[in-house]
């Protein structure tokens, strides 16, 4: 299966964890179902969930936790 990229629809700050003391939503190698939350992007005082739009296995997270992202940037690659 071809690689599928999940993109952030919004600019903001990228987070892989639901809160600082919790484990990440997903790790590399995890299987995800369509609709699973992959990460959060914070903007305008609110956190927006980024969900998987297909099912697959996570290959990589090209963005580090806590880094700024722009709209359309790939935040996870699925296989």
């Amino acid at each position: 299966m071809a690689k599928h990229e999940i993109k952030s629809p919004i600019p903001g700050t990228f987070f892989r964890k639901p809160s600082p003391d919790e484990p990440p939503f997903k790790e590399r190698g995890d299987k995800v179902a369509k609709g699973d939350t992959i990460a959060l992007v914070e903007v305008m005082k609110t956190f927006h969930e980024i969900k998987a739009d297909v099912e697959g296995t996570i290959v990589s997270f090209p963005v580090e936790d806590g880094e700024p992202v722009t709209a359309g940037l790939t935040i996870a690659e699925l296989d």
């Binding site: 993109k7 629809p9 919004i10 600019p11 903001g12 700050t13 914070e42 903007v43 305008m44 005082k45 609110t46 927006h48 700024p68 722009t70 709209a71 359309g72």
Partner: protein, 324 residues
């Protein structure tokens, strides 16, 4: 015949040019954060410049049209699609009954203005349809647009000419580093000379706390204050003052840490000193700043501020002429 809202992005609100005249009662002017883009979009679809349209931040809505109309998207580079086919921004576009207007990922800027021929015809409150959600005024029952809403349209003028574009040289978006011109104000003397210099020297960046009420900036060095005796009724922090009026565009810096520029949905007063005010000509640009955009504040005098305002008026005149 209304527009049906299928999805509304993160925040899509009905805006026009606002409701000036009630700020002394705590009700801000509101209206489009980027007024130039709102005016341009309205002109393209044959509306009066103060007709109501939509302001979408970062993500566009999905809208189904139940009648033929002309639409235009100005401001942010948020590429519109009609039935999936990409269309240009800053251009009058023909939409047929039953077609769906949607949007691609944001390419530049922050807020797109969507005007529709006839304008959105929700009931005005205090003379404006602009959404002031905090005060539950305007918009759809005082709130932002939601999926399932039907937005009524007024009668189109019939003067729109699909295919017409705003010339490139009349479009405005902030550069990679935004430059915001600031006129030092009443409380400028509260800062040390060193802090006054640093505020303009440092490159700040837009924080995530940035919305219609105000834009916060961070990353510059903290500002120091001249020692003083605490005035009657002022708070104990050196950045506190005896409560005063807050102008649109005023720059407050609570505790000298992170400057906040008040915008169209500003609070009208409070107890923080303001070092100055972003000039009116640069207020539209703030509405187009994404989080993390590097920003430089540039010190100007009143003469420069007034000349910039004049230049801005000339720009609007040029757009009117180009669209005809």
């Amino acid at each position: 015949m209304p527009i049906n809202v299928i999805s509304s992005g993160i925040m899509t609100t009905i805006q026009d040019l606002g409701r000036p005249g009630y700020y002394h009662l705590g009700i801000p002017m509101g209206g489009a954060m980027d007024r130039l883009a709102m005016r341009a979009a309205n002109l393209l679809v044959g509306n009066p410049e103060d007709a109501a349209g939509l302001e979408s931040v970062f993500v566009g809505p999905e809208l189904e049209f139940t009648e033929d109309a002309t639409v235009a998207v100005c401001g942010a580079e948020l590429p519109p699609r009609i039935d999936g086919e990409e269309q240009p921004t800053w251009t009058a576009l023909s939409v047929k009954r039953g077609q769906v207007l949607s949007f691609d990922f944001l390419k530049a800027g922050a807020r797109a203005y969507i005007a529709v021929s006839g304008g959105i015809d929700t009931p005005p409150h205090l003379g404006s349809r602009a959404t002031y959600a905090i005060g539950a005024l305007g918009g759809v029952d005082g709130r932002a647009v939601q999926p399932g809403d039907s937005l009524p349209l007024g009668k189109a003028s019939g003067t729109a000419r699909p295919g017409t574009s705003v010339p490139m040289e009349c479009r405005r978006l902030p550069g990679a580093t935004a430059k915001l011109r600031v006129l030092p104000g009443l409380y400028w003397h509260r800062l040390t000379e060193d802090a006054q210099r640093r505020f303009f020297e440092d490159t700040w960046k837009v924080a995530n706390e940035a919305d219609r009420m105000g834009y916060r900036f961070q990353g510059g060095r903290p500002l120091d204050f001249v020692p003083r005796e605490q005035p009657f009724s002022a708070g104990s922090d050196p950045s506190n003052i005896t409560d005063a009026c807050y102008p649109y565009g005023s720059v407050q810096v609570p505790s000298g840490q992170e400057p906040i520029v008040l915008h169209r949905d500003a609070v009208s007063g409070g107890g923080y000193f303001m070092l100055g005010t972003v000039i009116s000509a640069d207020m539209d640009l703030i509405g187009q700043l994404q989080p993390n955009t590097p920003t430089q504040f540039v010190k100007v005098d009143m003469e420069t501020a007034l000349a910039a305002r004049q230049e801005r008026n000339t720009l609007i005149t040029a757009i009117r002429k180009a669209i005809g």
